[in-house]
């Protein structure tokens, strides 16, 4: 495999991660599901590429593209952490508001109510 091809394949992986970053800007359960698929695809593509990476060793363009990929992964990681932290803390707030506090002083888990949907 040529170094240019390695670069192109890393670029393809990055575009998957970039799409996940776009979705994470508006995180919703649906968006997070789509992110999982994109991360899975990116990870498997990169794992498949691993044996051929040596053919791009020392190539500045391939290295640059790999650094861009790292940047995109870092961005995804940060967005994921921020959104997770937002929702976890929000969950704690909801718990405290709706169910009070535990004996240890922590917010109680928010009550979960089941729903039944009947269609006829």
């Amino acid at each position: 495999m040529l170094a240019a091809e390695v670069e192109e394949r890393i670029l393809a992986v990055r575009s998957e991660v970039d799409r996940a970053c776009q979705l994470l800007i508006s995180p919703s359960p649906t968006a997070l599901d789509s992110c999982s698929r994109l991360f899975e695809t990116a990870g498997s593509r990169l794992a498949q590429l691993q044996p051929q990476l040596r053919q791009g060793a020392g190539n500045p363009a391939a290295q640059q593209e790999a650094r861009r990929l790292r940047m995109a992964v870092m961005c995804a990681q940060r967005l994921l952490e921020n959104a997770a932290s937002f929702h976890v803390n929000w969950g704690r707030l909801l718990g405290a508001l709706s169910a009070g506090y535990t004996e240890r002083g922590d917010p109680a888990p928010a009550p979960r109510r089941g729903r039944i949907c009947v269609q006829g």
Binding site: I10, V17, C21, L24, I25, S26, P27, P29, L32, D33, C35, S36, F39, E40, G43, L46, A47, L49, Q50, L53, R54, Q55, G56, A57, G58, N59, A62, Q63, A66, R67, L69, R70, M71, V73, M74, C75, A76, Q77, R78, L79, L80, E81, N82, A83, A84, F86, H87, V88, N89, W90, G91, L93, L94, G95, L97, S98, A110, P111, R112, R113
Partner: protein, 481 residues
Amino acid sequence: MVSLLSTLLASSSALNAYEQVLEVTQSNVANSSTPGYAKQTQELYALPLNPSLGVTGGVKAGVVQDSRDQYAEQNVWRQSVSLGQANQNVSSLTALQSLFDISGDTGIPKALNNLFSSFSAWGQSPTDTEARQTVIDNATNLANSFQQAATGIQSVEQDTNQQLQTTVTQVNNLVGLLQGYNTQILGGDRNDAGLESQVYSTLEQLSQYVDINVTPQADGSVTVLLGDQTPLLVGAQQYSIGSTFQQPDDAVYTQAPPAAHILASDGTDITASVTTGQLGALLNLRNQVLPSYIGDAYQPGDLNTMAKQFADCVNQALTSGEISGGPNAQAGVALFSYDTTNDADVAATLSVDPTVTPGQLAAIDPGPPEVANGIPLALAQLAAPEDPADEINGASFTEFYGNMASRIGSALNDATSQQTVQQSAVAQAQNLRQQSSGVNLDEEAMTVVEFQRAYEANAQLVTILNQLTEDAINILASTTG
């Protein structure tokens, strides 16, 4: 008849209520693009209905509910303060990096290489006047390059001082606006959605400059703290911050530039608590980054250290040599001079003594054994020193300069990455704020559980992807294919 009147009254009350709902809806539509505006909802409640008693029911308008979520707002401010910091770092470090060329084509590295080359050429023709003159010319160029670098950094420092003062003024102006809004709210405008949107829009602007902690009060006003402790606004009372530049009492380098300080309205030094936002970035640049190059109360700065040590090395070699051999040997003269009273000003004052002539440069190392070109050879050796005394912190002069330059390059690279990530993080926080406004607690409790599972799954995938990316970078960086 009574029943008909009651029905008419109930209908009239309902029409009034719905008119208010319409007004709130119109306001929501009209302000959909207003910065800081949060959706309002008109509460309605049912009136009792008991026809046998002539109570005809109906609907009545209650209070206007604000969908603003303080937790989501705080999240936006937290991301915004980091973006402000990254933006300022990119801007300041870009200006600083332009002063440090690592290509070797300009500035100190080029002048240093040229001087080393001229030492070598002089070593090959130790008595050649032209070779000696080239040494003097290249030494002059190097001294000028140090001066230009020092002047450039001092200029960045002046700009930073100016920006610090401007930023402090901007913070005070924005808090002044908030103080005006608080005054209006305390005067009876607390249910004005437009006024509230102005308050929150101003708070979002303020959060780019400093880390703020905002507490909405029962009277409708907002209390704003800088960090967790310093009051900026309480009710209608504004507490302005200030900036000052002063040397500590225990300063070692008393003539070095004084450090910048931020003062609370009571004069308390709050510099240590201002670590984020645009103001935090400026303080870090002014009190940490720039002094590492041109010094402060406790350090001479790397540029001055390098200029001094290089000048001393060259001068020491030249003055230890002899212009002519024999019993009446004449000692050589020093080439470089600088302000010896201020170690934090060496680079800015480094120069070549204009009275030095080619004939005064000593080439002979008196030994024993005497070597006719010993001094220029020793000077040329400074390019790749073998003697630890000719190194700075274990590095050659060229390497030491390279480390200074790469430090800025690396910091700028980090800041640029941080800026890119933070732009997305702010957009995300704004979307989360949008999502969380006007939520139903019961329904959202379910959603949060769904979120937590999805985050855990995604976090594991990203960890694997991160490791694969690091492996890829390491493989690509290896020299053997």
